[in-house]
Subunit: 236 residues, 2 copies
DNA sequence: TAGTGGTCTAGACCACTAT
DNA sequence: TAGTGGTCTAGACCACTAT
């Protein structure tokens, strides 16, 4: 792996130390100048590594104060178990769930995709874009990205038939999934897919799903038509 | 605006030139070294500006070849990245939580309030509107409605001090809470409370909270500034 | 006041693309 | 072969935080 850029190697090392609690949640990281010296790189290079982890939400920068390991544990556990799946909701409403493939392509990942899938930018991925319908009405526009290394030469129809089944057949087991929900006013392309008027709101969900060994296997972005879909949660 | 970092000024200038088609979709941008010289900055600084536009999906880098203005039509998934990148930074962490009361009133419930609280329309309720801040910045606008029969003559300061504590002190115990999340483009009043520009998106949450005897005790509507708040979920 | 992250410089070498 | 973006260096000064 010594052909990986140094800043990626440092990122991985830092991520590993956070995962192993060598750097604990909420604690302050050693100063950039200190880390740079430890890794024997310039401060700019060290900052590249940190920037990636900041983007992932694993680190938080506080100018003048320091860089902190984010305490994600709290927010997550605080709430929201039992989010309901798309098909479940459609079924509960007596609607027929369907989905239509728009795009199926193999390509090099964007920086964001690579970072969320924890792969190198020259490692190929497959991206599937599809629209999900409830009773013929577009409800969600979904963009899924998966490393080729995981699914190999999966084709369109295998994918349509169910990614999860495909992976389970190959002996992979699913672990956790991390989701983030926000609200956006989507751009023209997304509006078109969802039959939305420009200016309407959409729920935007980003999800990274992991295998039992904590390796990410898919990164999904989904836009839900704001007026046709809602998440139902129950807290106990 | 000369106190804005140079790389942000350059980003804005480049974005403007793309918008005005001075740099046309699909065309190649001048080389980084050329642009750096034009803007009279180092190449690293120029690259910071470009990196932001790449993250937004407005530019695409092709190593060895050049940097291109993305052709929005084609590259759907590429474009979608940009919507997230900014918001990600706004994480609700390490920020000081505050809240400010806007309204505290006793009144007869609306049909929706009565139905959610499972009370009669002539049974009085108390409504509290407040804005919640994270580090001085408005994050959420919350409208809570409670039956008077439950809290009696609770006053503003008792309410501010914590509704839940107040109820627990009186021997009530909390059960489940049911939530529903959707996306909306909020009206003028809500925008004002949250310092939003009209047309921006907000997460809209409706929650009904129950006591252990399954009697509803509060009905809450909350608007979260779409660009300042996200829900994090973890599924297992 | 000492330490921190934010920004910026003026270079350098690399692998890759395009010709 | 010339040009390109990718990476990296070894500094510098700044505003801000924490004490």
């Amino acid at each position: 792996m010594s052909d990986m850029p140094i800043f990626l190697q440092i990122r991985d090392d830092l991520a590993e130390k956070i995962r192993r609690q060598h750097f604990k949640g909420g604690s302050r990281l050693p100063a950039e100048r200190v880390l740079a010296e430890q890794y024997k790189v310039s401060r700019m290079t060290l900052r590249q590594a940190i920037a990636l982890l900041v983007n992932q939400g694993k680190l938080i920068r506080k100018p003048g104060s320091g860089t902190y390991v984010s305490d994600q544990e709290k927010e997550v556990s605080e709430n929201l178990k039992g989010i309901t799946s798309f098909t479940q909701i459609m079924q509960s409403q007596g609607k027929k769930a369907q989905s239509k493939f728009i795009v199926f392509k193999r390509h090099l990942p964007s920086a964001i995709e690579a970072s969320n899938l924890e792969i190198d930018r020259n490692e190929e991925v497959i991206t599937i874009e599809r629209v999900r319908y409830g009773d013929e009405e577009p409800i969600a526009f979904e963009i899924t990205t998966i490393p080729v290394s995981l699914v190999g030469n999966i084709n369109r129809s295998q994918m349509a038939h169910g990614l999860y089944e495909y992976l389970e057949d190959r002996g992979f087991h699913f672990g956790k999934a991390v989701q983030e929900i926000s609200a956006v006013v989507p751009n023209e392309i997304v509006c078109k897919r969802l039959n939305l008027t420009l200016g309407q709101a959409a729920l935007f969900l980003r999800q990274t799903s992991y295998l039992t060994d904590d390796k990410p296997f898919e990164f999904v972005k989904t836009y839900y038509a704001g007026d046709r879909y809602r998440f139902y949660l129950e807290k106990h």
